[in-house]
Each structure stands twice: as C-alpha cells, then as structure tokens.
Amino acid sequence: MNLRRDVFQGIADPTRRAILLLVTTQAMTAGAIAANFDSARPTVSKHLQILTECELLKQQPNGREIYYHLNLKKMKEVAGFIEPFRKMWEDRFVKLEQLMKVYKPKK
C-alpha cells in the first residue's frame, strides 16, 4: 500500500504530470526536460528525483548522459486503481444511453 501512495504522490504535482507527458513519446535527458519549464533547473531535478523514487520514471545511462523514460508498468498501476470506479459508471451510462434511445414518454 505504501508503494501505491508513493505513485500518487508522484502524479500529485502539475509539473510532474507535465514531465510524465513529455517523456511519453521519447526518453529525454534532465537538461532537455528542464528546457521545457520556466522553473529553475534544481526544481526540475527535484521533480525528476521524486518521479524516479516512486518508479514512474526509469533512468537509462547512454554514454555520459542519463536518459529518463516512462515506466509504463507503473503508469498502468495508477490508471488501474481508478479504472474499476470509472468502469462502474461507464457500464451504467452505456445502459442509460441504450434505454433512452428507445424511450417512449409516459402519458
């Protein structure tokens, strides 16, 4: 359970969510990621550290550079947690829509 709380701490911050979004398409270095934000470089580094600690990001050395990439397995864990709640409502709404498509008003 501790692990899960950490993941949510990871996505709690808007800058961290933006970082996750950035690395969805390609692995990036800390410098390349920081270039996308107005925040000071140490602030971005701190966010990267937190995201790495809760395993949402993985570090991959490539020569002298360290690349950050998304840990898809962990991201699925975040989505999977809320997914049953979402699916419960989606199932209800699918039924609602089907019912109302053939609805005849009562007299």
Binding site: Q9, F85, R86, W89, R92, F93, L96, M100, Y103
Partner: protein
C-alpha cells in the same frame, strides 16, 4: 464518448464527466423517472421525489441476499439543467456526500453530464474511489475460495 473521472490527489472532490448521444431532456429524464433509474442503476427504487426538499431511496439485494439501502435528499432541481442532492450508503461507515449534477446541451442533439461529487474528507473520497477496485479484488478472492472449497468437498 467515454466516462472520464477527474480526481486530483489531495482533494476531497471528484468529477465524473460523460457525453451522451442524447438530447439533454432525455438524459435528464433518465435521472428522474423511477422505472428508468431502476434499469440503468441496477437497483430497486423505493422512493424518488425529484423536487426541492424531495428525497430518494434505493434498495439493492446483492448475490448473497444482503439488502443495501442508498438514499439522499434533493436540494435543488432545474428541469433539464441541474440536480443537487446528497448520497448516502445506509448502515456503512461512509459519510454522506454532496453531488452537483449538470446537464449541458451539445451540438447535434448531444449532451454532457458533469457530476461534481464532494466528500467529507480526502480520505473519504479516496476510500470511495477505491471501493469498486477492492470489491473486484474481493470478488476474485471469493471466487478462488469457492473453487478451493469445492475441491475439498
């Protein structure tokens, strides 16, 4: 047209948003006609009085035969536009929650439902959010237990 849940970390509220291929009038009707509510919510409707100072009461029997009651009061109703109500699972430790339902028209006779749900605390929201997740796990456990029991017999 997929249900979207917006639940930011550390907040005691969430939004449930979905677009329907239905005009707002029909979407709204699905929330105020007992026979319709029964079908899509999968519950028996004991009472549903969609008016200011009105209230509702639902009753569901689970596969094990236990009866669960859900109820609330209706605070505000504006035809085809909004419903403000409380929701409570009776005889559970879950506190009552406040729900703001908005029905918005979209082009081409479509509509959007937004449910803004406010909980007593951040923890209460998170507990409600993970309830279906945990029920899923429990169901899986129960199924395993049943298989296990059957093997023993």
């Amino acid at each position: 047209m997929k249900t979207e849940i917006i639940a930011e970390e550390g907040r005691q509220d969430l939004h449930i948003i979905r677009e329907f291929d239905l005009p707002t009038e029909l979407l709204y009707t699905a929330f105020i006609e007992p026979e319709i509510v029964e079908q899509w919510m999968g519950t028996k409707v004991i009472k549903l009085d969609p008016a200011r100072h009105g209230s509702y009461q639902f009753e569901t029997t689970d596969p094990r035969g236990s009866v669960h009651r859900f109820s609330g009061t209706i605070h505000e109703v504006e035809s085809n536009k909004k419903i403000t109500r409380t929701f409570e699972m009776e005889n559970t430790p879950f506190p009552v929650q406040l729900e703001f339902l908005s029905f918005d028209p979209l082009p081409d006779h479509k509509s959007r439902l937004t449910m803004h749900v406010i909980y007593k605390s951040v923890t209460d929201r998170d507990n409600m959010l993970r309830l279906p997740f945990e029920q899923g796990i429990n169901m899986a456990h129960n199924r395993l237990q049943e298989i296990f029991n059957n093997k023993k017999n």
